[in-house]
Symmetry: D4
Subunit: 148 residues, 8 copies
């Protein structure tokens, strides 16, 4: 049995690499997918494909249409979603992806520092599991395959 | 034809009152519902019902379970969702409610100041309509009933 | 038993009035809903609510977001959809509304002149009933209530 | 990760070949499917299988039943739909396929010349991405696989 | 609490009248709906609305499109379906309606003489309840409202 | 806004009366529904309607088919489910109803004595709220209507 | 692209073998599945697994529970359903399987002799394609793969 | 055709090994999955991943969140569920998994000793097949693949 896992969350740190490496060293049969991690490319992809837009709001809208396309295709292919929240950034699309996963019937692991427990309490209550770091998420993933 | 509209978003300003009054003065046949707006009551409802919890994380989890119950019942009864984002607060449950609405096939109006266009660009692209203030949202609601 | 019927199609002729009057004279317990029939208002509603847009493509996109909101709310409330195609106009949103109705499990009556049978043959095969004029559609509606 | 992409739209030009070749040269792991591109065969398949029909309306209905069967099977197998609209033809089945894709939760890329922005504004607002040519669609497809 | 019940099955005997009268005398808050019981009207409705058809197969297809429209609208509005099979007739549309009800998540009561148990065994196993006569079905309906 | 609430659980104590009275005294606009509370009638309803069965297993199967019919109709009509577990009985149908509610997207309040926390831990984690007594459940219901 | 096709219908003639051979000779990438074709085994499987039952009705019910299990598993795995009706037998489970397929969003090819057009008219109108013999069904299957 | 089967039920006896061995000796193309069978590990996994919890209720809640994650991922991947009830334990999560399977449209085989027929009568009536031992369940699984 192989799983596909979507990694939702900020693209400014290397948490996805950490998860992939640890899953690889544990030989977990998981394919990881996720958003474009090159931040500039993610912001500019709208104008790159759709051409120059009339101002920053429209440029953002163009970029988000391409990024949403990517997310929707990859989320549909996934068996489980991991959403990581950090101290910085608004991260509203992370919340949106997490909620979309739940609504699609896909299990959700939430990773967030304990300092963020208050603003994330409603999402945390809906997630299957809420943890504080990548190591805990890997243990939960690994547990799915144990003794199968 | 009557509609039920869920008003998702922060509970620190009086934007819901403004919407209700304007809809009332336009005689729109709309019932508005939404989260508990008494902030303290929203935070304390968990311990009030479930008893003293062992620390703030558990108290938040208790409160969020009751608040999620309310949101889920009322969201299920709604025909349309309006989600308002402001300059302050994390507002991740607003993003979560907005995304849940979309996943349930319920139309969504997003209200946000233009300053927030960048962090909300993905959600904005998924909403039916994105506006900057309550007056615009009321016009959109009113348009649904025009010439019916 | 009362039904709500969405009338999809062009807004340049008075076919909706004709259906409403005939249903009224037959005392059919039907509430009819549909798109904004004031063509200018439909085209300008985007800029009226969202403000001046940078060119006609963006103005159209703004208008369509409001019009789609209206359609989605009213289509969700409907028990049956009637879609009328005429000789003029592209009418792609009529095709889109008809297909959305089918996908939502809502029965569909298609009205089209026989001259259009070829380009509409795939949609016709998916509709519950395909007729050529409003009188036939009224007879089909009336038949639903007969001898109940 | 491999994707299946349904190419909806007119069958009179070679746009599908162009997409397939460009995807092939980029080594994108995509299987493309779509409607019968042999126009005569598409129109005659009804009578070929079901026998001589009593007139052109019935011949079209017979053909459309077979063509709808093909579309439904292949659309159900797809992860993403690309719908192309051109200057000619009614293309109502393209609109129907695009709307069916959206209703089934499948992401949609819309290709249309900018001249058609007005009649397609409602569909465009519902599509994930709207572009003007095949090259832009290929870039969007390619972006899904980048840095995975 | 009021229920709507669709009565699927042959239209040659007066079993529907019997159910309605017994439910009425028990003051059950039920609205009964069902197919057109006037057999000739049911067979001729296609040509009455769509005009003369080229032969009996096409006349039947025309009639069935109108009858299916009626069934689909009324079945969608129902909370429960009762399907009655008798000794005569093919009754394939009864089987079709019963299966559609199950697929839509609507509870099903099957009425059939015990002599038909063998050919109906698969459908019987899927129905919520299988009984042999109208009186038993009324008792099951009545039980739903008892002590509420 | 009025709600319908299904009360799943054992039928040997008067907990449903307690909930109904307390909701009534708080003037909550709730209609309560639930299983047949007359235990003998619940066990005998199968043979009463379907006739003498060949042994206790078949008698139980007959009864359960009628009881499942009732539950399915009433659960479909409900906006929220309360499931109460007590110290006695297997209560597997309570677990089944609770799980069916969750799968149907209906919010769930679980009532159970804290002594049962271990065997119910998986269901508790899926419920919206888990409480220990009827008074807490009433508070949660009441909170839904507060300040609306 | 490979398809799985469920062959619903009577198990007294060799029509399934005919379809399989013809599909094989055309090298169509199709896996065919279907009900148990050994009639005695199909009727006796209930008692073989569940033990001696108290009479023929219960024996049939036992058998149908196993046969329904098989059908449900295989139907869920299928991309398309072919349902064949012949002159003999009640064939209500064929009607049931055909309707279940439609409700699950799976395309349906109906095969029936033209003599049966009247009793099957409602099902025929819902099927994607209605043909009279196996050769026509094979042509329709083959058409799905043409020029892919 | 390969199937994935989820084995729900108690983890104190070796019934899963028995099923796997018998399926293996019959060369059935089935992958079996199920809950963590190491009981201590199942109870302690919450604290192992989430850290020390404030008391047994919270420890159970932590464990159940991880166990539910595993169940949900594996149940989503399954084509069929077998649920076994024994004489001991509450087994409410078995009832919950069985009901979740039914709600997800996945066929269910129920294994229970005949002594438990009364408390399981409602679930039994909803299952596709109810048997008394593992050998019978294997025969039902085997029957699905016979003569394919």
């Amino acid at each position: 049995m192989e799983l596909t896992v979507y990694l939702a969350g900020e693209i400014h740190s290397s948490w996805r690499e950490e998860i992939k490496e640890k899953a690889h060293s544990l030989k977990l049969p998981i394919t990881f997918v996720g958003p474009m991690e090159n931040h500039d490319r993610s912001d500019l992809i709208g104008e790159e494909i759709l051409g120059k837009q009339p101002g920053s709001v429209f440029r953002d809208e163009a970029a988000s249409s391409i990024n949403n396309l990517r997310t929707e295709v990859l989320l549909n292919k996934s068996d489980l979603v991991i959403a990581l929240f950090g101290e910085k950034y608004k991260q509203w699309n992370t919340a949106m992806d997490a909620s979309a996963a739940l609504s699609l019937g896909k299990p959700l692991i939430l990773i967030r520092p304990v300092e963020l427990h208050h603003p994330l309490k409603e999402l945390s209550r809906k997630a299957n599991v809420t943890v504080e770091n990548v190591d805990q998420a890997i243990k939960a993933l690994s547990y799915i395959f144990e003794e199968l």
